[in-house]
């Protein structure tokens, strides 16, 4: 089975920060962020790192700061 985009980042190392929340059923909620892509991937994985690893759900959060922060950053660069 081909790797999902999140798995590809997991195994290529394109992230700086990883958070794992181990669930009672043995699955793991994994969040990775940073890296060259700057994206945040949130995955729910069964058998993490195992032979039968399976990504149950995967979500990619929007890149970078939200639009209202970007607008303020741009405004802060300008002379008042």
């Amino acid at each position: 089975m081909p790797l999902t985009p999140g798995q590809r980042r997991l195994y290529s190392g394109d992230y700086n920060y990883m958070s794992q929340a181990w669930q009672p059923d043995g699955t793991v909620a994994v969040q990775i962020s940073g890296g060259k892509s700057g994206q945040v991937h949130i995955m729910h994985v069964r058998d993490l790192w195992g032979e039968h690893e399976q990504v149950l759900t995967e979500e990619r959060l929007p890149e970078g700061p939200p639009p209202h922060i970007l607008a303020r950053l741009e405004e802060a660069k300008k002379e008042p």
Binding site: N16, Y17, M18, S19, W22
Partner: protein
């Protein structure tokens, strides 16, 4: 050297402005400077109101080797009145955005070893762990003893114990290669009900 007489030639240039241009243009240039003697002293003093000593190496591939072979070697760099950054490895790799912070949480029961973090080193990389931390949150009960096992590639690399948790910078980085697991397992005593546990490891990645 005894076959040759002693030889001394003094180069002395005195003037208000002295310019010595050396221009060598050729398809291939070799400029070897070889000094062979029982004792060698080579001083370079640059004294001026402003001193510019510039080395420009322009090439598709540059190799700059400095080899020092000696029974005793002293290397001193002194920077004053400057904006010079000298990074150690950990800070350099953070500067290059190769830092890794991995953390995990899990719930477990008293006396059971529970995995709170399992990190696998990515392809083509070497992971150097610079520190670990763990904790146990007992809820409405009191945790009085916690233990951490750090597994490197399925074998215990070291153990750590404390009251409710602790952090430990590693003065010797723990090295793990691509595909190896760095796994933190935590055990606690003192609360019979399930407790929340955390574990973290941080470090940096180098290309293998």
């Amino acid at each position: 050297m005894s076959d040759y007489p002693d030889w001394t030639r003094l180069f002395q240039l005195a003037g208000t402005e002295i310019t010595i241009p050396i221009n060598i243009e050729a398809s291939d240039v070799t400029l070897p400077v070889t000094i062979a003697a029982s004792d060698v002293t080579l001083f370079v003093y640059l004294t001026g109101q402003t001193v510019l000593l510039q080395f420009n190496l322009y090439s598709s591939s540059v190799t700059l080797d400095v080899n020092i072979e000696s029974q005793d070697a002293n290397i001193t760099f002194t920077f004053a009145d400057q904006s010079v950054a000298v990074f150690d490895a950990a800070k350099w790799f953070a500067h290059e955005a190769d830092q890794v912070f991995a953390s995990g949480t899990a719930s477990g029961n008293e006396g059971d070893w529970t995995t709170v973090l399992d990190y696998t080193v990515p392809a083509g990389k070497v992971f150097y762990a610079g520190g670990v931390a763990f904790s146990v949150l007992g809820g409405d009960g009191e945790v009085y003893s916690t233990h951490l096992r750090l597994y490197l590639a399925a074998a215990i690399a070291f153990r750590l114990g404390e009251h409710v948790g602790r952090g430990l910078p590693l003065d010797v980085p723990l090295r793990a290669t691509a595909g190896q697991h760095v796994q933190l397992d935590v055990e606690y005593w003192g609360v019979s009900a399930s407790a929340a546990m955390t574990g973290s490891a941080w470090g940096y990645l180098e290309d293998a």
